[in-house]
Amino acid sequence: MIRLLKYMKWWYWLFVLAMVGIVYQQVSFDLSIPEYIGNIIQLVGIGASTGISQTNDILIEGLKMLAVAMGSIALTTVVGLIAARIGAGLSRNIRQELYQRVDEFSMKEMNDFSTASLITRSTNDITQVQMAVIFTLRMAITAPIMAIKGITKITGISDEMSLVVAIAIVLIMVMISVIFINVLPRFRKIQDLTDDLNLVTRENITGIRVIRAFNSEDYEEEKFDGVNSSLTRTNLEVNFAMAFMMPGMQLVMNGVNLTIIWLGAILIGNLTLGSTPFEGLALETQFVTYANMIIMSFMMLIMLFIMVPRAQVSGKRINEVLKKTISVKDKNQTSDIILADKGVPIVEFENVNFNYDGANENVLDDINLKIYQGETVAVIGSTGSGKSTLINLIPRFFDVTNGSLKIHGDDIRNYSQEDLHNLIGYVPQSGTLFSGTVRSNVKIGKDSATDEEIYEALEIAQASEFVNTLEDGLDANIAQGGKNFSGGQKQRLSIARAIVRQPEIYIFDDSFSALDYKTDKLLRKELNEKLPSATKFIVAQRIGTIIKADKIVVLEKGKIACVGTHGELLDSCDVYKEIALSQLSEEEIKHGK
């Protein structure tokens, strides 16, 4: 948490310094109010004993008190303003820093944290930190000042009374500590149980067909009942413990007031409090108020000790992101991409190895491939064979561990990422869309694209038909994550987004999986006819999708098992034949050959 403070701009610290001064003054104001009340009591005493009206003097004391009170409120407002702005400002700066960091992350860092976790860190955790900062700014400055000033006010008045206050503080601290030591681990447990409750409920809903098919509704309800009971029990325990808090604090505060006044009566009787009985009464009244303030400030401090560690967890999680080293970076000096001659492969894998750091086994092992301009390269293999990783190396989502990946004859790490990405049209598997319109989404591919270009891209991507049926056409609204479009539609729009870019290299990461066979076929035909000079990488599960590729790369456990055309592989490659046979009959495979 402390480390996050470096995102305070230097002038924030000036404001914090100013706050200390302002709070000091405000506390002084607050502490002087009981003095005026004391003065009034003394004036009453004078009036009563001398019989001379003290109305004017009392009024003057009253007005002074009001002025001081107003002053205190004005200062509190200023403090609140500064605290709110610093807290909000700090969280804005951290959020920006965090976003910037994540923006630079490669796929490796994204996977290390998981997207969901990064989202929580950038939203909830920052809110937690902001709340804690505002709270701390107000309490951590006010409480000690109030406690110290209050204590100096009461010292010397009466040792006996001071002792009462000290005992009360110890009592409250013990009480709150005991309660929270009991409660805090249970909070954690409640969170876990809530997760369990969610899990059981989610299973019940996602598996509703199976549950009904097996007539096991009762079994599910029993399971839910178990978690529900534990959750209720833990909630009860927590609330029972918390129920002691309020009445307990009240009891201590009441006890303090009672004891001081009782003691006061005895001390005034002994004439050991104040030089006159009225001064004694005035002092006693002041003492009660100060005592309450001091106890209050200690309670604030205790709250701080409870609040801050909880935000600390959030702070730590944010820091983990900020401290994360980024694995894919631009070199200080990048070279321009010089288009290679005809005979040079446009993409070349040269002894490429890849593994996640710490892993013993290579995800990709000794990959050697030469791909020339205009070729269609299909990558196939079972799950976990490394096919997605292979193509993810091309846009530098990851960097190779050993070996070299060259585009236009030079290692891609020599180019800037921006230049490299400009060569590539990438289509992810899930068809990622962003909130906005159809147009704004396709335009991500090329900011300056005209409607004509957009329509052309949609046409090739087999998307123009359904876009035209949308009421607003290109301006049709796309909800967050493209929720209002089907999987196949999302894939086609994502393909259009890549096409409008007119890149040299296309990467289709299983991008046809949600399309029906007919659309799949038409789309591939269009791609071949309209974009003959582009180099295409296709990862696919279906043999039908890749049967016509110029090069089919068959991966097995991270190694290239065979490379060739469909016909060649059927004769020479057992792995390929096995995959093909699992999808097509002997007869159809021959037909394809």
Binding site: I40, I58, V102, D103, I119, N254, G481
Partner: protein
């Protein structure tokens, strides 16, 4: 790989989520119908009428004993003053007796308040538990189409967030409403007994503080709304950009996204500090009115005291009461707000609990002949939505032991047939007959027990492998389980796992999709139903596992009437009957040869899928 951070759905977009340390959240979600919602909630509370009554008495008692305090404390001081005026020694015995009385009252107050807290805790937790139980059993009584139109996140949020909100706010707001009202009335009465003039003056100041409070609340609510919206927009943006990180990166779109982020961030900053600031104003402003009352009591009381109309102890008590007046006022305002959110949450809970359920089948006497598996679809008409019929008039006769392949492009509604067979949905008209008996004449449960299902999503729950396998059939012996697993080609895999049949499966356990599918096949084998529904789709399954699955399915199908959502050509070709679906409707039926000769949709589909040469 599911992440722990997000197992529980965040309270997104719903106000009252993040609670600030400064006196709780200021924005309140309004229910559509407060009264109705509260009436529903009262039905749950009614069971605890007696307990609640006791809690209320305790709450009032605890408050009253506490409120007598300042007056008695004042009396102690008065004893001192009287003695001083009379120049007599202070009557310490009397002081002590008052003090003892106070000690007794304070301790009573402590126990009363504590008891009140305990009782309210028990009541609200029981109500929350009951609500959750009701929701859980409701899920199993709802027709499936209820979930077609809602995301399960909504239901999850009702079980956790909304019930939680009800429990917490009910506990706090009811108790504090009672104590606050008692407090205000009590304080005013006590003040009147001390000095009428002062009491009236102080009470006259109450509306002033109310007005001030309302104004600030209105202001801060406005800014809180800006803040909440800003937070929502920001979270949405972050979620989208992070999830699309790859795409953003490779299209060099980060600059634009960042620009948008910066704008949102600045907006959020504005809303954030303003809402914090205004809600933080509440305290000083309330202390302003408190101070004015303080001043009035101090000055007027002081003047009165000179003429002996009030004793100093009286002023002391009055001052103490003044501070006790503004707090309950604030609490009442807060409790009212909380009750509003309670009502809003309760509204969602009850609208779920009141949703229409599956029809009651108490009076159906099932009598189905299980000796064979003949099924007849007779003039079946069906639509998920009343006015959108997708199956118009479907007729087919299926004989015992036949294999029926259901084919069609993605989204053609292949699962509709499954849904109708299982009676997950009711037909609009027509009938499905099993061995000549209409499924309407058979209890849903009995229909279900006729079929075994192996679906694509391979649903397993958190529990041991054995629990998952014997699901719905707890009396199976271990021997039968092992046998079924051997037939389903999954025994070896299970044996290789740590703990084998007793290994707990959860989200983190590394069981592949294909292995999960094998487990569900074994599960169906153990259930041993007369008929089967299989989904062949095997995406994300490697070739070898796929062959195992295929063999296991073949073993399972032997001798059973089977419906297969078919993807494999061999299955389709060997099927006794193929149902070709498009846009939800069954458009062609027949076997492979017959359908090819028709040169219809099936022929086209077949050709586009497998013919790749001639273009």
């Amino acid at each position: 790989m599911a992440n722990r951070d997000r197992k529980t759905p965040p309270n997104q977009g719903r106000p009252g989520g993040p609670r600030g340390p400064m006196g709780g959240s200021m924005i309140v979600e309004k229910p559509k119908n407060f009264k109705e919602s509260m009436k529903n909630l009262l039905k749950y509370i009614r069971k605890y009428n007696v307990l609640m009554g006791i809690a209320i008495i305790f709450a009032m008692g605890g408050t009253i004993f506490n409120i007598v305090g300042p007056k008695l404390l004042g009396n102690m001081t008065n004893e001192v003053q009287i003695a001083v005026f009379a120049n007599m020694p202070i009557n310490l015995d009397k002081v002590a007796s008052i003090a003892v009385l106070l000690i007794v009252l304070y301790i009573l107050s402590y126990f009363f308040t504590l008891a009140q807290g305990f009782i309210m805790n028990i009541v609200t937790q029981r109500i929350s538990k009951k609500l959750r139980t009701d929701i859980s059993s409701k899920i199993n009584r709802l027709p499936l189409n209820y979930f077609d139109t809602r995301s399960y996140g909504d239901v999850l949020s009702i079980v956790t967030n909304d019930v939680d909100a009800i429990g917490q706010t009910l506990n706090r707001s009811l108790a504090s409403l009672i104590t606050s009202v008692t407090s205000i009335v009590g304080v005013i009465i006590m003040m009147l007994t001390i000095n009428v003039l002062l009491a009236v003056l102080v009470v006259l100041l109450v509306p002033l503080s109310m007005v001030l409070m309302m104004t600030i609340m209105k202001f801060s609510q406005k800014h809180f709304r800006v803040y909440q919206n800003g937070l929502g927009a920001m979270n949405g943006h972050i979620e989208e950009i992070y999830s699309g990180h790859n795409v953003i990166k490779v299209f060099n779109a980060n600059r634009k996204a960042k620009q948008e982020f910066n704008e949102l961030n600045q907006k959020l900053y504005e809303g954030s500090w303003k809402s914090q600031f205004f809600s933080g104003l509440m305290m000083p402003v309330m202390s302003l009115t408190g101070n004015i009352s303080y001043l009035v009591v101090g000055v007027v009381g002081g003047i009165l005291a000179v003429s002996g109309k009030i004793l100093i102890g009286g002023i002391q008590s009055m001052l103490s009461y003044v501070t006790r007046l503004s707090q309950p006022l604030m609490q009442i305002a807060q409790s009212m707000n909380q009750l509003q959110s309670t009502a809003a949450a309760a509204e969602r809970v009850f609208s779920f609990l009141e949703a229409e359920e599956l029809s009651d089948e108490e009076d159906i006497i099932s009598n189905v002949n299980l000796s064979s598996g003949n099924i007849e679809f007779s003039h079946v008409k069906f639509g998920y939505v009343e006015d959108k019929i997708i199956i118009n008039d479907f007729n087919v006769n299926i004989k015992d032991g036949q294999k029926i392949a259901i084919v069609g492009p993605t989204g053609a509604g292949k699962t509709t047939i499954v849904n109708l067979l299982m009676r997950f949905y009711e037909l609009n008209s027509g009938d499905i007959l099993i061995n000549g008996v209409s499924t309407k004449q058979i209890k849903r449960q009995d229909v279900h027990s006729l079929f075994g299902m192996v679906l694509q999503d391979a649903w397993l729950f958190k529990g041991t492998i054995k629990e998952n396998l014997t699901y719905g059939n707890p009396n199976v012996t271990m021997e039968e389980v092992v046998n079924a697993c051997k037939i389903s080609n999954v025994h070896h895999f299970i044996e290789s796992l740590p703990g084998s049949y007793d290994m707990v499966i959860d989200e983190d356990s590394s069981i592949s999709q294909g292995q999960k599918q094998l487990l569900t096949i074994a599960r169906a084998t153990i259930a041993n139903p007369p008929m089967l529904i299989l989904d062949e789709a095997t995406s994300n399954v490697d070739t070898r596992t796929e062959i195992l699955i295929q063999k296991a399915m073949d073993a399972l199908m032997k001798g059973r009437t089977t419906f297969i959502i078919a993807h494999r050509l061999s299955t389709i070709k060997n099927a006794d009957l193929i149902l070709v679906m498009k846009d939800g409707d069954v458009i062609e039926t027949g076997n492979h040869e017959e359908l090819l000769q028709k040169h219809g949709f099936y022929a086209e589909l077949y050709n586009s899928q497998f013919d790749t040469i001639d273009e």
